[in-house]
Structures are given as C-alpha cells and as structure tokens.
C-alpha cells in the first residue's frame, strides 16, 4: 500500500536519503519541510497518511508539528540523533528511530503505524 508521506528533516543530505528510502519502500513523499514554520503549514493542510519528523529543526523542536498532526489524526514517526531520550514525555507513544538508521528500521516504524493489509 502506497502511503502519502510528509518528511520533516532539516539536514539536506539526510532528507534526500529519507526520501529515497521511502520511495524505495513504495511510498510517495508528498513534500519535504526543512523549517518549523514550513512544516507546521504542511502538517496543517496537506493530504497525507503519515509523517516522518526530525525532532530538532535548526534549533527548534518539532513538537508543535506533532501536535498539529495528532489533532488531525495523522500518525508520525520521530527520527532523531538524540534517540528516545530526546522525546518530550507527552509524545512517547509514537515510534522513534535513531539516526543513523537502516531502511528496515524505517519500514518497521511505518508499518507499526500503518500495518500493511496482509499483516493487519
């Protein structure tokens, strides 16, 4: 099942990597946000199934984006170099993948939120 995914990642090279990984997993990257404000706008308006959220966006935490997504009922995965310890207590029910990660780590995290029909 092809998911429509928003990638929020402020590091250019990493954003390309995540985009390529998701494409390889058969998903569609709707867009890529590198700044908090841009990410908030996209999270609020885009027609998406899921989002991958970097936690630190050039010094700003991306939790406001998480709040917008949660309010819209859109699930998301945190991707961060801080690991689970860098996630605020209110968001610990969401999957976290620690950078650097493998394509399988990303696949598992996405499947946790949007199980493929066969596994459901």
């Amino acid at each position: 099942m092809t998911l429509r995914i928003l990638v929020v990642e402020d590091e250019m090279t990493i954003s390309l990597l995540v985009e390529d990984m998701l494409t390889e997993l058969g998903h569609e990257v709707v867009d890529l946000a590198m700044r908090l404000k841009q990410a908030e706008e996209m999270a609020a308006t885009f027609d998406i199934d899921l989002a991958i959220l970097d936690v630190n966006l050039d010094g700003h935490k991306s939790f406001p984006v998480a709040d917008i997504l949660a309010a819209r009922g859109i699930p998301f995965v945190f991707a961060t170099g801080y690991g689970a310890a860098g996630i605020d207590p209110g968001y610990q029910q969401w999957p976290v993948i620690t950078k650097p990660f493998l394509i399988d780590d990303l696949r598992r995290a996405v499947e946790l939120l949007a199980p493929p029909p066969a596994a459901a």
């Binding site: 402020d10 590091e11 250019m12 090279t13 990493i14 954003s15 390309l16 990597l17 985009e19 390529d20 890529l32 946000a33 590198m34 700044r35 841009q38 630190n56 050039d58 961060t80 170099g81 801080y82 690991g83 860098g86 620690t98 950078k99 650097p100 990660f101």
Partner: protein, 489 residues
C-alpha cells in the same frame, strides 16, 4: 656567705625555717644600715618572721635605702642575683629598674600603697635584658613610732600566664585570620545539629549571628531536607566527619550548590560538644557540569546527525555509480568536503558562517589557476545549516567543473557571485555559479548526486529555488534564497 658569729642562732628573733631563715640569721647585718639583728626594732623582726612563713614571694625594703630581706619564694624569683641580693639596697640590687623602685620607696615611705597587675618590667636575667610581667603589691611597714620604716612587697611573677594568654590570643587571631582568609562559609552546630550556633555566610548565604533552631528552613529546600538529615544523622552516629555536596538557598533566595564539611569537637569524655564546619560555594562548578552535560548531549546528537549525513552521501554515491573506483574517489572527496565544512562552522561555534568563507573553502581547492576562479559579493552571515548545504553543493559543482566543465580545459573560468535584493519587504539572496570558456556543454544523460543535492536538497534548504542550466557556453546554477538562510543569532 660569711656567717657572723654573733648572729649564730643566739637570737630567736624570728622563727622561720628554710634556706632564707638560716641565711638571714647568719648574715652580717652589722655592715648594713640595719645593724645586727639584736638591734633590730620589733617591727622589723615581726615582718621578717612573717614573710619567712609565707609561701608567696615577699621582700621587705627597710629604711630609706630599702635594704632587702626576702623569703625562699622570692629567692627563686631573684634567680642568679640571690644570695647577693640579700641585704643590698633595692635601687642597687635591681639596678635596671631603679627608677621604678625609687618611686615605690617614695610613695610607700610616705604612707601610700601601690598595686600593679601584670606590670611589665625589663630585668637582666642570665646576663640579658628580658621582659617580665608581675603582680606587685607594695605597702608601708610601720615602726614602733607608727611611722613608715620600710616597705613590704608581694611579688608574684606572671610572665608565664601573660605569655600564655598572649599565645592564646595570637592563636585565636590566626584562627580568625584563617577563617577570614578563606572564602568559605564557616559555621558551627550544636552536638545534635538541632541548633545552628553561628554561620558567617560571606555573601553566599544569609548570616546566622545568634543561635537558630529553624536553620534548615532558612538554608535548605524542603525536598532536600530528608536526605541531608540522613547524612547528618549518620555523621552523628559514627562521630565522624559530615561531608556532602547539596543544594542551598542562597542569600538572594536563589538556588545554589555547596560543598559542606563539618568536624565534631569532643570533650574529655569523648562526647561531641559541637560541630565546626566550612562550606564552599560550588554553584558555578555545578552549573558548568550541567552545561557540560548539555554540550555532550548536543555533541552526541551532532555526531549521530553527521553519521546519518555520511550514510546519505554513501547511499547516493554508490547506488548511482557503476564504477566502484570512481565512486570511492567521489565518496572520499565528499566526506572531505563535509569535514571542511564542519571546520568552518566550528570556527563560528555553529552560530553561523560567512558566505564568502564557505564559497572560498568549497571552490578554491579545486581551482586549477588563481585567475580562473572569480568570487564576488558582499559578505553575509548564513545560518550554519545553510552554509553546510551550500558548501556541499559548491563542492559538487567544483568537481564537475574540473571533470567536465570550465576547469576541464586550460582556459575556462568559473565565477561565483551573489547579491541581496528586497522582495515583498524580505531580504533575499541570489547566488550564481557561472562557467565560461570550457568545452561545449550538453546536459548529462543521467542525474547524479550533485543534481539531486542541488535541485531537491538545496532548493528546499534555502527556501527558494536552485536551477541548473546546461547552456552551450557553460554550466550555470542560479540559487534564489529566502530570508531564512541568514544566521538568526
């Protein structure tokens, strides 16, 4: 000492045993103004008998000359002057304090009394002048006519106790100086720590000048008290040093940290009578430690991020290149470019980086000759992230120029220029990479990492556009960046 035969125990004029009793009885008084003992007035005999019975150092100074008669205790005080002092004139026997004694004689022979406490005098002892302190009491001795005929002096040397007290004062002074010299807070506690007796806060903590029961309320935060009390209890139980780093409420009410250490002071029976402690202000050290923790945490994040970037570069480099050797070279060069970009940013402590610096660093090392590279534009400070992205993009363009573009022949040039402009009140930045004089250009068959980086990555990073044009005259890349690329701090 020559004994006078006439004085030989024939005159039990006064009782009195000991050395001085015998010496006085045997002394040839006929050579003195007093004359032989048999001629002494009863008053002199009585006072001599009295002083010989006394354990206190006493001397009688008889007549206008003050002829000296003294007891055993006084002979000890007289030291090496004894026994020559016996029967001598006071002003001669104590030559160095003749003026002092002259005054005594004048006052007392006129019926007055004198009393000195810890009077300092300089006496010659062992051939050297030496300061001594004495309690001196002088009173007249009346003869049968009721007139003063001599002076009785009770002489108690207090040198030892005066010096002892002085040493004690000095010791206390040194102790005070020590506690003043240290910047530490100094405090004392009752044996059970229920009462703080005194605390000198040094501006760090509030002072406690008189005993205080509720000291914990003043100095400690409620949530810390149970633990601190448990350490105190343990120190009391084991009668050992109390030592703890803990939070304190500072004099200004804010949270501080102290390293506190107190030692018990015991009485003769080994019971603790009080505790004496010193506490240093380690607030700054604690803050530094906290800051260091944050820095380490942040560093870990950056390392992880850098590893992810290297992973991304590796994936991009190796997936699209079929030539492994070429891919390895490209990969290495990209990692080197990433490393150099990090240097640029570290120099600015990640607060931002100079656009010119970033361009120079990415482009210059590849430029075949100095004048084949033109870099133009007024410098601006970019955010660390943008500078890093731009450095990587420039690296890609420079290596391409060297391989296929303007730097692949002997005369082509690359110019990198930039300028700022206003659009809808926002200060945007335009950067242009332009190659000319190279071999004729045709678009590549396949888009590589460089293209992806510039068109997909850099465009988003700068919040604008990044367009690559493979014009016949040479490759051109135009970057139109939004206001977000400038360093915010």
């Amino acid at each position: 000492m020559v004994a006078h035969p006439a004085a030989k125990d024939e005159h039990p004029a006064f009782s009195g045993t000991g050395e001085m009793g015998n010496l006085i009885r045997r002394f040839d008084w006929s050579k003195t103004p007093l004359g032989p003992i048999s001629d002494w007035p009863q008053s002199l005999r009585t006072v001599t008998g009295m002083l010989l019975l006394s354990p206190v150092p006493i001397v009688v100074l008889w007549g206008a000359d003050g002829i000296m008669i003294y007891n055993d205790a006084y002979s000890v005080f007289a030291g090496e002057r004894h026994p020559q002092l016996l029967g001598s004139k006071v002003r001669e026997g104590w030559e160095e304090v003749a003026d002092f004694n002259d005054n005594v004689m004048k006052i007392c022979m006129a019926g007055g009394v004198l009393s000195y406490e810890n009077q300092k005098l300089t006496l010659v002892r062992h051939g050297e002048p030496e300061p001594v302190w004495m309690n001196l009491d002088y009173s007249p001795v009346l003869d049968e006519s009721g007139e003063p005929a001599g002076v009785i002096a009770i002489v108690v040397e207090t040198t030892k106790s005066v010096l002892g007290q002085r040493r004690l004062r000095e010791s206390e002074g040194r102790f005070r100086a020590l506690t003043n010299a240290t910047s530490d807070v100094v405090y004392s506690m009752s044996a059970d720590w229920k009462e703080m007796r005194q605390l000198d806060g040094r501006g760090f903590l509030a002072n406690t000048e008189s005993p205080r029961i509720a000291w914990q309320e003043l100095y400690l935060f409620p949530e810390d008290r149970e633990y601190i009390q448990s350490v105190i209890d343990e120190a009391i139980r084991t009668k050992s040093v109390f030592q703890l780093e803990h939070r304190v409420r500072r004099a200004d009410g804010t949270v501080g940290w102290t390293s506190s250490r107190a030692v018990p002071i015991f009485d003769e029976s080994g019971r603790i009578v009080e505790w004496f402690g010193a506490a240093s202000d380690i607030t700054q050290r604690r803050q530094n430690e906290e800051h260091l923790k944050l820095v380490v945490h942040e560093l870990n994040h950056r390392v992880k991020n850098n590893l992810a970037m290297i992973q991304a570069i590796a994936m991009q480099t190796f997936r699209k290149n079929t030539d492994l050797k070429d891919a390895q070279m490209r990969f290495s060069a990209r990692i080197v470019a990433l490393g150099q970009a990090n240097d640029l940013l570290t120099g600015e402590r990640w607060a931002g980086a100079s656009l010119r610096g970033a361009v120079e660093q990415a482009v210059r090392p590849h430029c075949p000759e100095k004048d084949r590279c033109v870099i133009e534009g007024d410098d601006v400070t970019l955010s660390a992230k943008t500078a890093l992205a731009l450095t990587l993009a420039m690296h890609e363009m420079a290596t391409n120029a060297l391989k296929y573009g303007a730097w692949s022949n002997s005369s082509g040039k690359v110019s990198v220029s930039w300028s700022t402009y206003l659009k809808d009140g926002a200060k945007r930045l335009r950067i242009e990479w332009r190659e000319e004089g190279g071999p004729s250009v045709r678009p590549p068959d396949q888009r590589g990492f460089g293209s992806a980086l510039i068109e997909r990555g850099l465009a988003r990073e700068v919040g604008g556009e990044a367009k690559m044009e493979f014009l016949p005259d040479g490759f051109v890349c135009r970057i139109d960046a939004s206001e977000s690329v400038y360093a915010s701090r």
